[in-house]
Subunit: 200 residues, 2 copies
């Protein structure tokens, strides 16, 4: 009886944010209403604006505000390279490194039978079409090195086998700055298995 | 150049949420746009609805959707008891216990010279007026047991000294279920200092 229905509705809505449970949702609702009504207004406006403007790139699936994203539309990118990632966040992480100049394809998820996400729910059909219809020299599969990411990578690899295209995957191994002592066994095993020849 | 300006604006806006930094804001923005556009719409609507409807109770300051909150408007509450708390969240925590039947006064913050919050920024003037004009038997100061909460409690206590009213504060001590071995020194010291007579 204490809280207003408007606050209850706000708490409930905030639980849609990843990693936000009931306690945290309440803390956020109270914080905004007590101390930052301007910030609350900005969030509401930014959400509505993003929902209205953000669509998917027709070609690569990533977020964009027009039919083609800046990368797909760019003349400077190497169109013979295609990097397959799970999400726009992954694409952005790779872009921030600045070492890759090809195009992308964003699956918008990963295979996850438990959550009912099979090949049909992801963009595999379009990926197949892109590889079939364009002169692509190499497809770099850059899914996450998790169980589901690896399954997704395996599926992608199988699907692209019929095409005359080089298929590569990200190197697995000890992260730069990583200490062997603190590395988990599977990472160490992968680093041994995929060890590189020294290039002296 | 990768992300759209609408996403950048959304990430920036989400940082207004307590405990949400740039990384987390990006994760939230991507999650909503990738997987939960309906949830995003609900958040925006709930925020706008709350901003429009939620005001402060004229008497006690807590959130409400009319001039008086349900507690202040209730005939059943004991009007001779006044409990002073920092925030509506504190009020709600006490209400959930269900052991208190008096009225409240919400300061909407705590004294914090570092953040420029002095007595004038909080509701002390109105609190003073309420105690002066009503027949209040006891004021229970229930600020947080933190440095700033204790300062706020001290100030409240001093301010109400001139009135013929009993002033009490929450008991400090070992929390129920707490083990002495893991208790911090100040809590243990307070529990010793405020030890109760056994009521056999």
């Amino acid at each position: 009886m204490v809280l207003s229905s408007a606050i209850e509705a706000l708490k409930e809505a905030l639980k849609a944010l990843p990693g936000v449970g009931p306690k945290n949702a309440q803390r956020m609702a109270f914080h905004l209403l007590e101390r930052d009504r301007e910030g609350a207004k900005k969030i509401a406006d930014a959400l509505n604006n993003a929902l209205e403007k953000i669509t998917s790139c027709e070609r690569c699936n990533t977020f964009c505000e027009s039919t083609l994203c800046d990368i797909c539309a760019s003349e400077k990118r190497d169109k013979s390279l295609l990097c397959v990632v799970e999400t726009p966040a992954d694409l952005q992480a790779i872009e921030q490194v600045g070492a890759y100049q090809g195009l992308y394809f964003v699956l918008m998820g990963k295979l996850s039978p438990l959550e009912g996400i099979g090949p049909d729910q992801l963009g595999f059909k379009r990926l197949n079409q892109i590889v079939a219809e364009n002169e692509i020299h190499e497809v770099i599969i850059a899914t996450n090195i998790t169980a589901e990411g690896e399954t997704t990578a395996d599926y992608t690899q199988q699907m692209l086998m019929p095409y005359d295209v080089k298929i590569t995957r990200l190197a697995r191994g000890v992260p730069v700055g990583g200490e062997l002592e603190y590395m988990d066994q599977r990472t160490l095993a992968a680093a041994f298995k995929d060890r590189r020849a020294t290039s002296q």
